[in-house]
């Protein structure tokens, strides 16, 4: 009989769910790729006395994915040439990505020969790894859960327009809408919330202290309101993407702040960039300031995302989950729309309390939220009321537990060991009697 094991492709922010799962399921090996074997994962494993098994170590010595994939790539070559797209383009992609699937499939196959894989949990099923893993699980009788990496407030398009895993866990009912519209059955979608937002339950009650921390860290004026812009990026995965929404939208924000400053408004402005923009983000930010000859002072942040969401007096973002976080913690939210090459479906609904503005309306929107107390209060009240539709439970901090419960319901039951032979049973009985 094989011992049970779980395959984990979850990032650190979702490990609370794994923690809850292990507490309920009991000890079992955690199988994960080497790049995902983080100190945080090791800590959760250690807490439950679980072994972490690196997928790559299950492959034979000298395993070479490129040579393993060579035969299938040869077989695919004529098909790549017949797509109508430049053959070299398809072939290049195929040569780079097929070995990823081959290696992952072989490693998962080796894991399955050694363990009874009771569940595969991943935070995405679109990239080479996530998609290959969930597709592998479906053809190998391993239950699979895709815990959404974000709330799909933009309807799933191109590479996102499918569900490869058995089930999709979404943050709130809003996150199911796009998938239901694609015809994915409702019983494959479960509303759990985002374990990564569980911290808001506590953080939202510490607003003054959080603001003080930000004032200190970013040299903000504690007497002035805080306007935060959360940047975005262009994934280049849809033709609706104009190419560089990061720069376009940052420019709109800076222009709006300058307009407000010229009109006499005084506030702190913080640009919260994505950690993935670290390589170029600050330089682009400084270039954008220099190009404008700005008068308003700006701070640039790569960290403190949740603190900024809690402490901001106005949070501006581009169809972003950051705005949902603002809804959860009572921060007035402004969605900068009309960024695409052509009109797209609204990300938020009319009852969301998230102010929708186009670039030329941004300054007015920020100003109204800063200065019109009734409007601000009404927007926040509406957002708070609507928040559970976007994130189940609001900021109740219970999402990791809900995901853990789903994982427990989906996982194959722990294999039951056959009863020991009669002689062993007699020996144990004799031992117990002797102890009396």
């Amino acid at each position: 009989m094989k011992r049970p094991a779980i395959v984990v492709l979850l990032p650190e922010r979702y490990l609370g769910a794994l923690d809850g799962f292990l507490a309920g399921y009991g000890r079992l090996p955690i199988v994960t790729p080497g790049w995902n074997r983080t100190p945080a994962l090791e800590a959760v494993a250690a807490k439950h006395r679980c072994r972490v098994v690196t997928l790559e170590t299950l492959l034979p010595d000298g395993y070479d994915p490129t040579s393993e994939a060579a035969a299938v790539i040869d077989a695919l070559r004529p098909h790549a040439a017949a797509t109508g797209a430049p053959a070299a383009l398809v072939e290049e992609r195929m040569t780079q990505s097929v070995p990823v699937a081959v290696e992952l499939g072989d490693a998962l196959g080796a894991a399955q020969r050694r363990f009874e894989l009771v569940l595969l949990a991943t935070h995405e099923d679109v990239t080479a790894t996530g998609r290959s893993a969930t597709t592998w699980a479906a053809s190998h009788d391993v239950p699979s859960l895709h815990l959404a990496h974000s709330l799909a407030i933009t309807d799933p398009y191109t590479v996102h327009a499918h569900l490869a895993a058995d089930k999709l866990a979404v943050f709130g009912e809003r996150g199911a809408e796009g998938y239901l519209d694609l015809g994915i059955p409702a019983d494959r979608i479960v509303v759990t919330g985002n374990p990564g937002w569980d911290g808001y339950a506590e953080l939202r009650s510490r607003r003054p202290a959080t603001r003080a921390l930000l004032d200190e860290t970013y040299d903000l004026d504690p007497d002035l309101p805080l306007v935060v812009f959360a940047t975005t990026w262009s994934a280049h995965l849809t033709a609706f993407d104009p190419g560089d929404v990061h720069a376009d939208s940052l420019g709109h924000f800076l222009d709006a702040c300058e307009e407000l400053a010229r009109a006499g408004a005084a506030f702190n402005a913080v640009v919260k960039d994505r950690p993935s923009n670290e390589r170029f983000g600050r330089q682009h930010f400084e270039d954008a300031l220099a190009a404008r000859g700005t008068t308003q002072r700006y701070a640039y942040a790569l960290d403190h995302g949740q603190e900024l969401a809690v402490a901001a007096d106005v949070l501006v973002a581009v169809e972003s989950n950051f705005l949902v976080e603002a809804m959860l913690v009572g921060t007035p939210a402004v969605n900068l729309t009309a960024w695409a090459t052509a009109p797209m479906a609204p990300a938020f609904d009319g009852a969301s309390g998230v102010l929708q503005v186009e670039p030329d309306e941004l300054a007015g929107g920020i100003r109204r939220l800063l200065e019109d107390d009734d409007f601000r209060a009404s927007q926040v009240a509406r957002a708070s009321e609507r928040a559970p539709y976007y994130h189940v439970g609001g900021a109740d901090g219970g999402s990791a537990a809900r995901v853990a419960e789903l994982m427990l319901a989906m996982a194959k039951p722990r294999p039951v060991a056959p009863p020991p032979p009669a002689r062993t049973r007699l020996r144990r009985l004799a031992k117990r009697l002797a102890q009396r």
Binding site: A85, V126, S132, T135, T158, A161, H236
Partner: protein, 267 residues
């Protein structure tokens, strides 16, 4: 029906009733089912006006014929509720449509555009193209009623240039424009052989065409990514289709290089 769309339709209905009561006492029965409208006809005194708003389960022809037999002259038939399940409402992506219409009553321009479409365009259609129809009937003092005062149109009305200009002026923001394009698509899907751009100025026609072209590019790259290897049996390795790993980067590169979507971007 989602609440904002229902509220919007109820407001339309109230204005419609007000316009057709003509300042005189009238008997009004709205959202009438098959039993309600016959009862309503019996309660009207000679010389009085009756307004019956009938739903999709009621045949307007039957109401008109019956009213004629009961000494009514049908003075007008006004279709309404184009968005509430009529010709303006898409039949697919119901959650998206609910989200779009959730802005009725919230977004000023979208609400104004929807109102113009409902009040100036939907009434010119055949009642079969709307969710509801207001039957305006006067009970004549004499023994027999007359025929309907206005023939029921059987096709789309001719293009109204002023309406088309007003629609352009009310779709300057992306939300209203998105709504407009969905509505035009819905009509095109419902009415055979219609020019989908019949409600659009040349400028909006170009934008509508570009919007379709962009959607088509997304569909094309998605189809290519999903199907390019389908005929190759060797793509399966121990049950795993190893080509699924290609999709994500392939779609990105098809958009970047094959379709040249982001050429002007340096990084």
């Amino acid at each position: 029906m989602p609440a904002p769309l229902d509220r919007f339709t109820t407001t339309l209905e109230s204005r419609l009733v007000e316009r057709h009561t003509g300042g005189t006492a009238a008997s009004v029965v709205l959202r009438a089912g098959p039993r309600d409208w016959k009862k309503a006809l019996r309660r009207v005194a000679p010389g009085q006006r009756l307004l019956i708003g009938v739903g999709p389960e009621v045949s307007v022809d039957e109401v008109v014929a019956h009213a004629g037999r009961k000494r009514f002259t049908v003075v007008d038939l006004v279709p309404y509720g184009g968005l509430a399940g009529g010709v303006l409402a898409p039949r697919d992506h119901p959650h998206r449509w609910r989200r779009v219409t959730s802005w009725l009553g919230e977004d000023e321009q979208l609400t104004a555009l929807a109102t113009v479409l409902e009040e100036r365009w939907v009434p010119t259609l055949s009642p079969s193209m709307a969710a509801y129809c207001l039957v305006v009937a006067d009970r004549r003092p004499g023994r027999h009623g007359g025929p309907p005062a206005r023939p029921v149109p059987s096709a789309l009305p001719p293009r109204d240039e002023q309406l088309v200009l007003d629609i352009e002026a009310l779709s300057t923001r992306a939300l209203a424009r998105y709504f407009l394009f969905l509505v035009v698509d819905a009509v095109a899907a419902r009415v055979p052989h219609v020019d989908p751009a019949f409600l659009l100025t040349p400028r909006r026609r170009d934008e509508y065409a570009a919007w379709h072209e962009i959607q088509q590019i997304d569909e094309d790259v998605t189809t290519l990514a999903r199907q390019w290897s389908a005929a190759c049996a060797d793509r399966l390795r121990d049950g795993l289709d190893v080509t699924v790993a290609v999709d994500y980067e392939l779609v990105r590169q098809l958009l970047e290089q094959h379709h040249g979507r982001f050429e002007e971007i340096e990084r």
